[in-house]
Symmetry: C2
Subunit: 203 residues, 2 copies
C-alpha cells in the first residue's frame, strides 16, 4: 500500500499546496497556482483552509514533522554515539534526497518568521537533545570520544547533512558538477559524512 491518501478535494489541495509552497515559499506562492495544480476552483482553497496563511501552516507543519520525526527516534534509541551518527546521517541524507526542497523551505520560512518556531514547539514539539548530550558526556568521560560540546556536535551533524541541499545551486556551480555528478556526490555523503564526523571525535 503506497501512501496515496484518499483523493478527496481536501487532499488534492494539500498536495498541490505542498508542491507550490515548497518551491516558491509563502511570499512567492499564488493561490491560483495551487488551485490550477490541484485542478480545482480557487474558492475551494478557502472553503477547506480559510486563508493562505492557514493553508501554508498546514503545509509547513507537515513538512516540519516529516523532517524531525526520524531525528527524534534515532536520537533516543539505545545505540552508541558512533552508531547513532552513522544511522542518522545515512537516514537523514537519504530522506532529504527524496524531498530536496524541504530543508530550503523550512529554514527559509523560519528565517522569515522566527517566532513561528514557538507555535511549532507547542503543537508538534522539538527533538530533545538531553539523552544525546548525556550519552556523549559519558563516552567522553570513559575515553571513547574526544571532548566536544553536545550542542556543537549536533549543529555540525545537521549542518553536514542539510547544507548540500540548501547550497546546491552554488555548490554545483563552484564544483562544476551537473545534476548526475551531484547526485553521486550526495550518494557518497550518506556514508562519508559519518566517517568525517567519527574521524574527528573518536579517540
Amino acid at each position: 500500500m503506497t501512501k496515496e491518501k484518499n483523493i478527496t478535494t481536501e487532499n488534492l489541495i494539500l498536495k498541490a499546496a505542498k508542491s507550490v509552497f515548497q518551491r516558491k515559499g509563502m511570499d512567492g506562492a499564488r493561490m491560483q497556482e495551487i488551485a490550477d495544480e490541484a485542478g480545482i476552483n480557487k474558492a475551494m482553497l478557502h472553503y477547506y483552509y480559510r486563508s493562505k496563511q492557514l493553508l501554508f501552516e498546514a503545509v509547513f507543519k507537515n513538512a516540519f514533522k516529516s523532517m524531525t520525526t526520524h531525528l527524534g527516534e534515532i536520537l533516543n534509541d539505545d545505540l552508541s554515539i558512533e552508531e547513532k551518527i552513522r544511522n542518522f546521517t545515512f537516514n537523514h541524507i537519504s530522506f532529504i534526497m527524496e524531498h530536496p526542497y524541504l530543508p530550503s523551505f523550512i529554514f527559509q520560512e523560519l528565517n522569515r518568521n522566527p517566532e513561528f518556531i514557538l507555535n511549532i514547539k507547542k503543537e508538534i514539539g522539538l527533538p530533545n537533545l538531553e539523552k544525546f548530550k548525556k550519552q556523549l558526556d559519558d563516552e567522553v568521560k570513559n575515553g571513547h570520544l574526544k571532548p566536544i560540546n553536545g550542542e556543537q556536535l549536533f549543529i555540525n551533524i545537521i549542518a553536514l547533512n542539510a547544507f548540500p541541499f540548501l547550497g546546491a545551486p552554488l555548490i554545483k556551480a563552484v564544483t562544476n558538477t551537473e545534476d548526475l555528478a551531484f547526485e553521486k556526490l550526495l550518494e557518497n555523503r550518506k556514508t562519508e559524512v559519518a566517517n568525517f564526523i567519527i574521524n574527528s571525535i573518536k579517540v
Copy 2:
C-alpha cells in the same frame, strides 16, 4: 575613514534596498518599504534602478561579492591546508556574524532562481577550487592528511561555517539558547570548527 559612501540618493536607495531585500527576500520585499526606509519618494527607485528586478540584482551581486571575495583570496594563498582552514573558518564566521542575514538571503534567492548563478559566474566570477584541490592531494600523498575528496571537504567547510546562521531559529529553539548564549556559541565556532575539521583529516 569608515565606509560611508557619499550619501547620494542612489546610495541611500541601495542601502535601504539591501536592508529590506536581505530581510524579506525578493518576493517579500516592497518597493514602498524600501523608499520609506531610504526616506525618499518611490519614483526615485525607478529613476535610478529602473525596476524592482534590477534593484534586486544590484543588491544581490553586492552581497554575493562580499561573501566570496575573502574566500577566493584565502583559497589561493600559499599557506598549508591546515592553516588555510583555520584562517578561512575564522574569517568567514567572523564576517557572517557581522552580516547574519547574508547566507540566508543568498541561498534562498539562488534556490528560487538557480539559473541566476550563471549570470553571477559571468559577471562576478566564482571561487576557483583547483589550487586547493591540488594542494590537498599533495598533502594527502605525502602523508600529512587522510585521503578525502576536495569537493567534499570544501562543502563540509562551508556547511560548518554557514549553517548555524541559516538554521539559527531552529537551533536556538532546539538547544534552548537565547540570543546571548547563541552569540557565545558562534564565537566558539570561530576556532572550534577548524579544530573539528583538522581533527578529522589530520593523520
